[in-house]
Amino acid sequence: VRRNSWRIEDGGRIDRTQPLRFHFDGAPYEGFAGDSLASALLANGVRIVGRSFKLHRPRGLVGGWSEEPNAIVQIGRGAHLVPNLKATQVELTEGLEARSVNCWPNARRDLFASLQLLAPVLPAGFYYKTFKWPSWHWYEPAIRRAGGLGAAPALPDPDRYEERHEHCDVLVIGGGPAGLAAALAATRAAARVVLAEDRPVLGGALQWEEHLIDGQPSTEWVNAAERELRATATTRVLVRTTAFGCYDQNLVVLCERSAPSARAAVRERLWQVRAKQVVLAAGAIERPIVFPENDLPGVMLASAALSYAVQYAVRPGRRAVFLTSADSAYEAAAALQARGVAVAAVVDTRPAPGPASLAARGAGIPVIAGHAPLRAHGGRAVEAVEVCPLGGDGHRWGDGPARLLGCDLLCVSGGWTPTVHLYSQAGGRLCYAPERAALIPATDLGGLRCAGAARGGFSLDRCLSDGFAAGYAAARLAGATALPGAAPTAAAASLAGVAAFWASPRDRRARAWVDLQNDVTRGDLELAVRENLRSIEHVKRYTTAGMAVDQGKTSNMNALALLAELTGCDIPSVGTTTFRPPYDPVTLGVLAGRRVGGFYHPLRQTPLDRWHLEHGGIMEDFGGWRRPAWYARAGCSREECIRQEKRAARTAVSLFDGSPLGKIEVRGPDAVTFLNRMYVQDMRTLAVGRTRYGIMLNEHGIVIDDGVCMRLAADHFVVSTTSGGAGRVFAAFEEWLQCEWPELRVLVTNVSSAWANVAVAGPRARDLVERLDTNVDLSAEAFPHLGIRCGTLAGVAARLARVGYTGELSYELNVPAGYGRSLWETLLAAGADFGGQPIGVEALQQLRTEKGFLHVSTDTDGRTVPDDLGMGGIVARKAEDFVGRRSLDRPDARRTDRLQFVGIAAEDPAIVLPVGAHVIARLRPPSGSEGFVTSSCASEVLGRSVALGLVRAGRSRMGEGIHVYSVGQVWPARIVSPTWYDPSGARLRA
């Protein structure tokens, strides 16, 4: 085990009493509690942490948090494998297993590194033009294997994810100095506050920068602020929480990662926060400088080097050179030197760095002003940097010799880029501030304001005052009225001067890297411009700059500044690419939340659900309802069980749980007029006590539902819809009534769940129902087929309808849902001597297929009109208008060669044609489809297979021989009537 050879002897916010062992690329290491994986690797001298995406160049740590472009790792194994994490954001835990990605066998020795030899033929967009002949797909597998990032786990995710909704007056995003000040102000103003911080601890840069705030050390001020916020009941403090999306009306979505010790319970939690006001205090990200070989391991952002040294007590190098165009690097240089890192020089691109350099000079650090890096030198890590004097305009080399500075750490600071992603997602416009060399928010939005570094205020005193003012302003706008007191102040204003310097003057012989993660060089941008790509959006897509895991957090600004230079535009004219959620990658698991397994979608249960399960019901999802497909019986196969169920319906009596059928009450003086407009069939002639089958169309004339309209009184109907269609039919009723026909005096009520429905079907159905105590005359004369009666059944109110779906004598018995199970059990007991038994959905579907009853959405599709179902005559005879009628007059709806509903008889009666099999026009390919099989089963009662289907001009081709094709097999068949069983309907009317 390698142990912390680069660790600073004391200091840091790590717990040295808690050593933690971990593995990286199979090798064992040791770190401490409080380390990130990145800091622990650095403490053990691991310089190469990954390989670049395209060319597999060795890469080291550049950043300290989400901006990190290189250290992409996957952790864990098996189902717990998590790919594409940034090592900078992974908290070190005991036994952690991490691997680098996109390399083999490991990042240190990657055999794919030989791809660098091919770099000249792999420029930006190479795959668009290099691999065109003979086909991209010849090369694609190899290229995809060579590229790419981590592997997705092959096993189901065992972790639990949760979702929470939160409302607040003020949401503060970012727990650095500005965010803390904003949260304090809003909390003291008595607002309801949520503070979300991305990192495991509050403080932001105050974790590694040391200042005095309100006369106390900044770390103590952070601790005091956290205590105050957490002690306030109306303030919620969330750490390890990334605000990754901002949506309309201030809906901000946060991903909270549990602390390592709590991940077993809930790994991540999605917070959907609806805030009256949002304060975005997300800080700023330091910017690298583009110069040749700037991707060597050891080239690091100055702020990152500082954070490793101070927060984690790790020496990022032994001899450092700083390259900067900003004041902030001087503080970092002094802090590193104080921790034992020899600072060879601070190279400042500005000819007169100003007062910031004085402190460094005072500490004995040489300052080389007006110079820029010519190139970095080194093989697998930086060994030296060559710097040259700049000319007067800063864009050309000046006169004077180059200087070679030996170093193993090159700290770079090209200024700061405000983290404005969520501001832009909310619709905010950015403007370029030349004095800060940054794009900053142009204005506050109605419900969102930026504060601190996110607004371009890079000094600590500015962050504190700006954050406090923003928090108070937001609280006031949200309605809070208390006064927050005075803003915290820093003891001395830190310096925040910066000059725009994006890249060293061009050296065509060397590659200068703009986007490290995607291997995009300055030359790639030039190539894109040469190929006449001008929009930053196009350049991004062509070069891939700003894509992938880091989303260009360190590269976007340099890329657009260089594009401005190459196209002769100014930076505001170039603009930015669109900021889209997520700000930082989030797991698919947290987006799914708890909507997995049984919560994938709410499944409805009938009043008989428990009975079905207790009696062998094999439950499946049918239209959002959990229903028995069939009932398992000992020693019987699925097919045999279904056959027995069908036999009971055809020869004795069967019970079917039809409770999910939609039931909609339609009442009012205009109820009949309304239903006559909603259904194709004429409802005006429907007598009280009778029912009528009806099909419903949408405005395009397409069949969307069918059901039975039952007339209980002159102004009172009950409409029975398909099980899955109740909700949409009810919604359609309401929409037409509210929006189109408000003059109709009609009330509709969805009572689908109020009633349990038991369908009793079979030749002994009447005998069975008669055994129950009822006041309804069940005789065929008094209660004929398609009748509806209200009465009592076994002492409870009931509605009895002589309708069914099996083709047999049937009664649908409706009782209040709470009595459903009792009715079912009573019927079963009463019908035991008849051989009565329950049937599932599969048996019912086969029974109705034998009868040729239509099943909407199985035997119809999104093109079926009434005439396709043989109902053209009904349409023609109906005088009144109805929904969809106009569309039936379109030429296409009147074509005679449309797909029509017919029976399909296989010539071999033993062959059960597969559902979905196509009717083909020619035996030899190519053959177009002439239609397809929609329903099919073996029929014991008919002694042969039966099938239904939609066949082109089917009704005019009765008896015609056809061929049916499926998966390489062809069967001869014949077009027949869809009514296979009891064509006269005598059994129904028995």
Binding site: T749, Y819, L823, T826
Partner: protein
């Protein structure tokens, strides 16, 4: 004579009792409840008068409820109110309203069997419900006696704060009773961290 089964008795998963106990939360269910849905035009004087006459008080406004003498009337939509008559004669009121509404564009429907009623009590009720509800259900935001029709756990739910305490009553479609009960139990695990 047929036996009455409560909604949760029909479900198999987990505990058939609705009772869930957690720190700061107790979930129970009312086995029997009597609910009538009143539909009519609130601008219609005859409808309003019939309600006052037979229910005993006037129609509440949007998202509000009124209770008196063991009866509660909850606003559902601009033309629908839910009448909870658990302590009085459901059939009597049903018959009286049916008679009063005859010949008018108003209706009363017995929905007692259509809905399952969960009683959630304790100071952390809102935290559990807000694991699956977009509305602000904190006691500060959900006024006493407010009734809102919303989605909880992706299913239509009537959330009714019955009084000054933080206790709420959730009414869901009977077919979702088992799902809702399981969901609440899991939400407790999330909120209370077990």
């Amino acid at each position: 004579v047929l036996r009455h089964w409560a909604a949760l008795d029909e479900c198999v998963e987990g505990d058939r009792s609705a009772t869930i106990e957690a720190p700061g939360l107790l979930v129970t269910t009312r086995a029997r409840h009597d609910l009538l849905l009143l539909q009519g035009d609130p601008e219609d004087v005859a409808f309003r008068d019939a309600v006052v006459c037979h229910v005993g008080f006037a129609l509440p406004g949007p998202q509000c409820s009124l209770s008196l003498g063991g009866r509660t009337l909850m606003w559902m939509t601009p033309r629908e109110w839910l009448l909870d008559v658990s302590d009085s004669d459901r059939n009597g009121i049903h018959t009286a309203l049916t008679t009063a509404f005859a010949g008018t564009l108003a209706a009363v429907t017995d929905v007692s069997h259509a809905l399952a009623c969960f009683e959630l009590s304790g100071p952390r009720v809102h935290e559990v419900l807000m694991a699956g509800c977009r509305l602000d259900l904190t006691p500060a935001a959900l006024d006493p006696r407010r009734a809102v029709c919303t989605l909880v756990a992706d299913i239509p739910t009537i959330v009714w704060r019955r009084g000054d305490s933080s206790d709420v009553c959730c009414l869901v479609d009977r077919s979702y009773a088992g799902y809702f009960r399981t969901w609440v139990a899991c939400a407790c695990a999330s909120v209370f961290g077990y």
